[in-house]
């Protein structure tokens, strides 16, 4: 009898164990009927994906068509290491945009854990790991010893900020900093005269131009616009107001960008020819107008009011045009300009968001910008053709034609490509400034101790999907990476992708992802992290579309529109 009871007990235990499906542990396991992913629910309440035994379940972002006005139709994780971007129209700048740091990838789990708002604690794959952000004082990073690329040669990187060039130089000369940014032009000589320091010229692509709205007379006459373009000595402006490394802009787009400087260069300084043109247009003695600007320092226009006064003097001297210089509040100036309401002459410029000719030409002359009045349909059509041509070699003659058309139509005339400069201690090895993006500290070496970098201002947040200020982007670039990035000469290079290649239509880009990459929190990078990071930024209805301001301005601006935006 006793033996029978034991047998019954053993049989019951065996049945219970079989029913549980696991005789070893306490986990509760379910398997999908279609052989799909197996999810194990551990007794501690956490869930773990059992990837090794199951096929990858890829996430996808589908806009449901292209009627929403944006450029991305869908993004799909087709395999653990493959993501497919389907575009609404061809985009030759796709890779250049992809490399921009707002499109960096973070772990899907981290974005969920932070409610789509990892403002102070981003998790990336970059060469530096964020240690601490002491608000108001500094950001401290340590070298990522598990970095998939070359591990930095030093252990600690410190970001600090001072708002004046003089203060930053004091930091450098006192040994408190190894590398500082944004020198004032008047400080170049100080750096060059000190053997302990090195001046690093920054060839960031930008342009300063003098623009006209052709809806307002007399600028509705192309001869007037051309006369002014020929009547201003641009070299004099460069020599007087711009720092070393700046140059007269012969084209709108700086030549560091592919296909930028095709076609005829802009008009040479020719006051006699300009006066003749003006007389032909009916203004032999000139006319009265205004020069509007904002008094805001930019690399492309370091001394706005002084430059405006010089242009005013040149117009009076060379062409008999009497212009009144009007300095406007920055926001009001931009608003009036962008709405097409600005009469007279305006002074403005552009700094590259990403290194591609479309970033310069399409925004200004692609037909959607009323700042110059009515754009020539020929220019609009030519740029539209360029924007459909993915192959740079095939695009070359198109941009040659576009530049020539812009030169003929003269919606503006380019004046200067401004140069900026950074500085470093002479002991810093490989110190350099990349023309696009932040300084690449991972490739430098301070020699001994920590590497201290001083920039203009404190970052607003470190969730750069939803930031636009250069200081935030600069800090993000040290810890975060996207599928592509910018190389030391501004070239677009693969980062988390090994390659993104278009199909024959130019609409479908397949990105092969780098394998074996881990995030700073130890999790493994895969295609779903890419889709989630992009969905958070691009899909306004995504539950994690939170960010800092919630605007995700670069997603909206560079990819046409946000999906599901109200």
């Amino acid at each position: 009898m006793k033996r029978m009871r034991w047998l019954a007990l053993v049989a019951v235990l065996a049945l219970v164990a079989a029913a549980c499906g696991d005789t070893e542990g306490g986990d509760d396991t379910t398997t999908t009927a279609d052989g799909g992913p197996t999810t194990t629910a551990a007794t501690d309440g956490t869930t773990t994906s059992v990837d090794a035994e199951t096929p990858f379940e890829g996430l996808a972002l589908d806009s449901g068509g292209c009627d929403y006005g944006g450029k991305i139709a869908s993004i799909e994780a087709t395999a653990e290491t493959e993501v497919v971007f389907t575009l609404c129209s061809e985009d030759p700048a796709f890779l250049a945009k992809l490399a921009f740091i707002p499109f960096a990838v973070q772990p899907a789990e981290h974005l969920e854990a932070t409610g789509g708002s990892p403002l102070e604690n981003p998790v990336g794959t970059g060469p530096f790991v964020l240690d601490e952000w002491s608000r108001g004082s500094e950001i401290v990073y340590s070298a990522n010893q598990d970095y998939w690329g070359e591990v930095p040669a030093f252990d600690t990187l410190v970001f600090r900020w001072r708002d004046s060039s003089t203060a930053r130089i004091t930091e450098l000369t006192s040994g408190n900093a190894d590398f500082i940014t944004n020198l004032a032009a008047s400080d170049y000589a100080t750096i060059e005269g000190d053997a302990n320091l090195q001046l690093l010229v920054d060839e960031n692509p930008n342009v300063f131009y003098v623009g006209f709205n052709n809806l307002f007379p007399p600028f509705d006459d192309v001869r007037v616009r051309q006369a002014i373009a020929m009547g201003v000595d641009r070299q004099r402006i460069i020599d007087t107001f711009y720092p070393e490394g700046s140059a007269v802009a012969d084209y709108f787009t700086p030549c560091i960008i592919e296909n930028a400087c095709e076609g005829e260069p802009f008009y040479e300084f020719d006051p006699e020819g300009a006066r003749a043109l003006l007389a032909e247009a009916g203004f032999p003695d000139g006319f009265e107008t205004t020069i509007k600007l904002r008094d805001v320092f930019r690399v492309y226009l370091p001394e706005p009011v002084a430059v405006a006064e010089d242009i005013r003097a040149q117009l009076a001297e060379n062409l008999g045009i009497e212009a009144e210089v009007i300095v406007m509040e920055s926001g009001a100036f931009i608003e009036e300009n962008a709405s097409g309401q600005q009469e007279g002459i305006h002074l403005l410029g552009w700094g590259a968001d990403y290194p591609h000719v479309t970033n310069f030409l399409d925004f200004h002359f692609g037909g959607g910008n009323p700042q110059f009045g009515e754009m020539s349909p020929d220019i609009v059509d030519t740029l539209a053709e360029g924007a459909r041509t993915v192959d740079p070699a095939a695009a070359q003659p198109i941009y040659e034609q576009a530049n020539n058309l812009i030169r003929e139509f003269v919606p503006m005339f380019p004046v200067a490509w401004g140069a900026a400069a950074d500085a470093a201690l002479a002991t810093v090895e490989n110190a350099a400034v990349a023309p696009v993006g932040a300084p690449q500290f991972a490739t430098m070496n301070p020699g001994d101790g920590d590497f201290v970098f001083v920039q203009n201002a404190e970052p607003i947040s470190l969730f750069c999907a939803d930031e636009t200020d250069g200081e935030s982007l600069s800090a993000c670039e040290q810890a975060l990476e996207g599928l592509y990035g910018y190389g030391p000469n501004g070239e677009v290079i693969p980062k988390l992708a090994t390659e993104c290649a278009p199909d024959d239509t130019g609409l479908v880009w397949t990105c092969a992802l780098r394998e074996g990459v881990t995030f700073h929190d130890g999790s493994t990078f895969d295609a779903n992290d890419v889709v989630t990071s992009w969905s958070v930024g691009l899909d306004a209805s995504h539950p994690l579309h939170v960010g800092n301001t919630g605007a995700f301005e670069y997603f909206s601006y560079l990819w046409g529109a946000l999906i599901n935006a109200e």
Binding site: T173, S174, A332
Partner: protein, 358 residues
Amino acid sequence: MIGYILRRLLIAIPVLIGVLVVVFLLLRLVPGEPCTAILGERASPEACERFNAANGLNEPVYVQLAIYAGSAITGDFGESIRFSRPVSQIIIERLPVTLELAGAALTAAVVVGIPLGIAAARRHNTGVDVAAMTFANVGVSMPIFWLGLLLAYLFAVVLLGTPLALPPSGTLSPGSRPLPFFEVWGVELSDGFLANLAEFVSNMTITNTLISAQWSIFWDGVRHMILPAVTLATIPIAIIARMTRSSLLDVLGREYIRTARAKGAGERRVIRRHALRNAMLPVVTIIGLQLGGLLGGAVLTETVFGLAGVGTALFEAITARDFPIIQGFTFVIAATYVIVNLLVDISYGYLDPRVRLE
């Protein structure tokens, strides 16, 4: 006395409400939109529309004011538009830095300014008087930013490598991170007033490291504080010295001072026991006003020395049109002024028993 204090506090309420309303309305008159200041000048009208809606900026001004005032009364100054963080949290981070700087500067001003004024008064019309007043006049007319840059250059660059070298910026050396005093003490704090107060105190670098005996960081903090404190103290030193001198000269000419001297009291006793206390009344008023001025006027010093205090927070917020931060910090500065003035008034009763606060 208690009744007096209560009455003064009641009077402060309309003053603070006035500050709140005036600052709120003035900010709406300033040209420039928060949207373009924060999202960048390339922000689309649609993006700005969404931004304004999310931040309540598309409501009529009087509605915005009513919403803000309702929250501010409960001590909730809202969230920074730029940082998406509670303004009260930013005050907890920034105000301690300014308080510590102002405290150090005021201490230096009192310790130097009063003896300087006394010395000038005692040796009236001598070389000491002329030298002290020349120093005071130079100090009061010295542009703070210029003096700050000069001192930073002198002590951080020219004297680099000598024992006199001092750091040009920040509260601590790069990468130096003190532990909060309560962690050193092993005290665990949950959320609430005490936790906020502890965090507030721990953000005063020198105080925090002093009470938690983190000596190397403490001395690092002191070294970083010297130049900004000296810079900020220059004008108060000059003002206090001049006021002390003139007030003391006035008192020293009174008949009871002559009587004290006639009775054989020594000069030191005459100054200390009979003259100084009576001469202190206007000096205390000036010191009180200076403290308020130091809190609100540390903008330049904090900017020159890269200190993350109230001044730099306000400056950055004004640039970015971050209304909640500007409103919150202005309110705190105004409240500090009110409290300091109250303390000055109370001190009158102690210094001069003839003053009846009732």
